[in-house]
């Protein structure tokens, strides 16, 4: 198991290098001249050739591409993502608190999403084709089909404005979490519980379940075995769900005015604040690699057969 972990983490390293390179290339493919963007962002009234040349010199834009990449990559390793073109502040200091806020929302939601998905998935699989299974699937289908910004607005109107129970927006106390977490849970648990349900159903028809029953094991024990094996699929999906939510809270953050990464990135894109966009893309990509690695390691711990595949 130890050697598997080392190998698996080893694989993540070249992946991270590739990601950082691609991020840098993609941002640099933008047709805009970064020097012009910087000058415009600083409200310089007249952008002259001379000013552009000066800025290029000052910020190192005129150096060869690979040199610029290596400089950027080296400073990223020290969590130095440069300074914002717009505010002139450190990107790390701007993005870190926003990232933390989004991470909090994501993790809290993920816990609810995972718990709900497993509970509903197991309950439905155990009663396949019965009333409960059908109605839960029907309701979940209906709820996931609702666009989350609409659901969020309706909830704000009902719970915050009409009943005045919860804050409409912001991130002041634990009460601020309730509505966004509910909306996120509804949109994601409705999808993921189906995965749990179908992988449970796949396992129910396996021979080991029949043999367990034929040997007189209790239904409780058998369910634990089924769950253990079907969770392996679910764990990979849940682990990937966390970065997916992390990267797609834009809508929810805007509706609930959540001071997070999603809102920050939209603002950065609109004002063409390249360093922030670059850092944002990199952080989300690193989150994917991180959670993917974690899920592989958990799966290998649960299923020794997987350890041999590396």
């Amino acid at each position: 198991m130890g050697s598997y972990m080392v190998k698996r983490i080893g694989i993540a390293v070249p992946l991270l290098i590739m990601i950082s390179f691609l991020t840098f290339v993609l941002i640099n493919l933008s047709p805009l001249d970064p020097a012009v963007v910087v000058l415009q962002a600083q409200d310089i009234p007249e952008v002259t050739e001379e000013l552009i040349a000066q800025t290029n010199e000052k910020l190192g834009f005129n150096q060869p591409f690979m040199i610029r990449y290596l400089h950027w990559a080296a400073s990223c390793l020290q969590l130095d993502f440069g300074v914002s073109y717009v505010t002139g502040e450190s990107v790390w200091l701007t993005i870190a608190p926003a990232f933390l806020n989004t991470l909090k929302l994501t993790l809290v939601s993920s816990v609810f999403i995972i718990v709900m998905s497993i509970l509903l998935g197991v309950a439905c699989a155990m009663r396949e084709g019965k009333m409960m299974d059908k109605s839960v699937r029907g309701i979940a289908f209906f709820l996931t089909a609702i666009p989350s910004y609409w659901l969020a607005s309706i909830m704000i109107w009902y719970f915050s404005v009409h009943l005045d129970l919860l804050p409409t927006s912001g991130m002041d106390s634990y009460r601020s979490y309730i509505l966004p977490v509910i909306v996120l849970t509804i949109s994601y648990a409705g999808i993921y519980f189906r995965t749990v349900r179908s992988s449970m159903l796949n396992q129910i028809n396996e021979d080991y379940v029949l043999y367990g029953r034929a040997s007189g094991l209790s239904e409780k024990k058998i369910t634990m075995h089924i769950l253990r094996n079907s969770l392996q699929v679910a764990i990979s999906i849940f682990a990937m769900a966390i970065p997916i939510i992390l990267g797609s809270t834009v809508v929810i953050e805007n509706v609930f005015a959540w001071p997070g990464l999603g809102r920050l990135s939209v603002k950065a894109i609109l004002s063409r604040d390249f360093p922030i966009i670059q850092a944002y893309v990199l952080i989300v990509a690193v989150a994917f690699v991180f959670f993917n690695t974690i899920s592989d390691i958990i799966n290998a711990a649960m299923n020794p057969k997987l350890r041999k595949d590396l």
Binding site: Y208, Y211, G212, A214, S215, G216, P304, K305
Partner: protein, 269 residues
């Protein structure tokens, strides 16, 4: 005395209303081995699972199944569970898939034995060890700590036989226990099953479509086709004076195959 008496057993799919087994009646004498032969889909496995009430929820059954004089259909779920393993023991076709792939095989042994007996851990281990040694599984303790994928199909099959040895059930249902194995493992497993019968006098239902294996182990044979029993009788009678043309066909195919095989061997020598 008959250990198991089955009368007018009907099995059907409640979803499609399709009858899987028509009105079959048979019995297993104390200490004897009944083979059920037939092609896949003929209803052999479903019949055996119905004896343990292990078919899927939508597969329904009617008729009398008397095991040691008790009607199996009337038992509560809990009483039925107590009988499974301890009195009615199943040996599955594919050993590779019969154990939970993410647990070591010892976990299954511990859980199933724990479900029926109040043995301490060391007692369990000692009994398992003895049983495993008697089915020629070497180094039992380390085997118990292996995952199914680290063992061969034949080993896992013998593992199931070892468990049956510990349980000493009244009836063993072996559902094609040799089909998934290569010839050498087949031979070993059959040897173990024969020994098991010899030593414990256990009755057995042996499902197979391999007439050669059946001839070695069984006392009586049922031939099933499309959910019906078309031929029954002592083993030698079925082989020599089969009444139904399907049985005759099965026996003659078997002869032709072995004839061909002998010819091949003869020519090579």
């Amino acid at each position: 005395m008959n250990l198991l008496e089955v009368e007018n057993l009907c099995i059907w799919d409640a979803g499609t209303n399709e009858t899987i087994v028509h009105n079959s009646s048979f019995h297993v004498k104390q200490g004897s081995c009944l083979a059920i032969v037939g092609e896949s889909g003929s209803g052999k496995s479903v019949t055996c699972r119905s004896l343990m009430r292990l078919n899927k929820a939508w597969i329904r059954q009617s008729g009398d199944i008397r095991f040691k004089g008790e009607d199996v259909n009337l038992l509560s779920a809990k009483e039925m569970r107590k009988k499974r393993g301890k009195e009615l023991c199943m040996i599955m076709q594919n050993g590779m898939r019969a154990f939970d792939p993410s647990c070591v095989v010892g976990v299954h042994c511990k859980e199933t034995l724990g479900a029926h007996f109040d043995w301490s851990k060391s007692e369990m281990e000692a009994k398992m060890k003895r049983a495993m040694e008697s089915v020629m599984l070497k180094d039992p303790i380390s085997l118990l700590n292996k995952y199914p994928h680290q063992m061969s199909g034949g080993m896992l099959q013998r593992m199931m036989i070892a468990l049956a040895l510990v349980f000493t059930p009244d009836l063993i249902i072996a559902d094609e226990p040799t089909t998934a194995l290569d010839t050498i493992s087949q031979y070993e497993v059959i040897e173990q099953l024969l020994l098991l019968r010899e030593n414990m006098g256990t009755s057995m239902i042996f499902i197979s479509h391999d007439l050669g294996v059946v001839r070695k182990i069984a006392d009586d044979v049922l031939v099933m086709k499309d959910g019906e029993i078309i031929e029954r009788g002592p083993i030698n009678m079925v082989f020599t004076e089969a009444q139904h043309e399907y049985t005759q066909y099965l026996v003659s195919t078997r002869r032709a195959l072995s004839h061909h095989f002998k010819k091949l061997i003869g020519e090579e020598l």
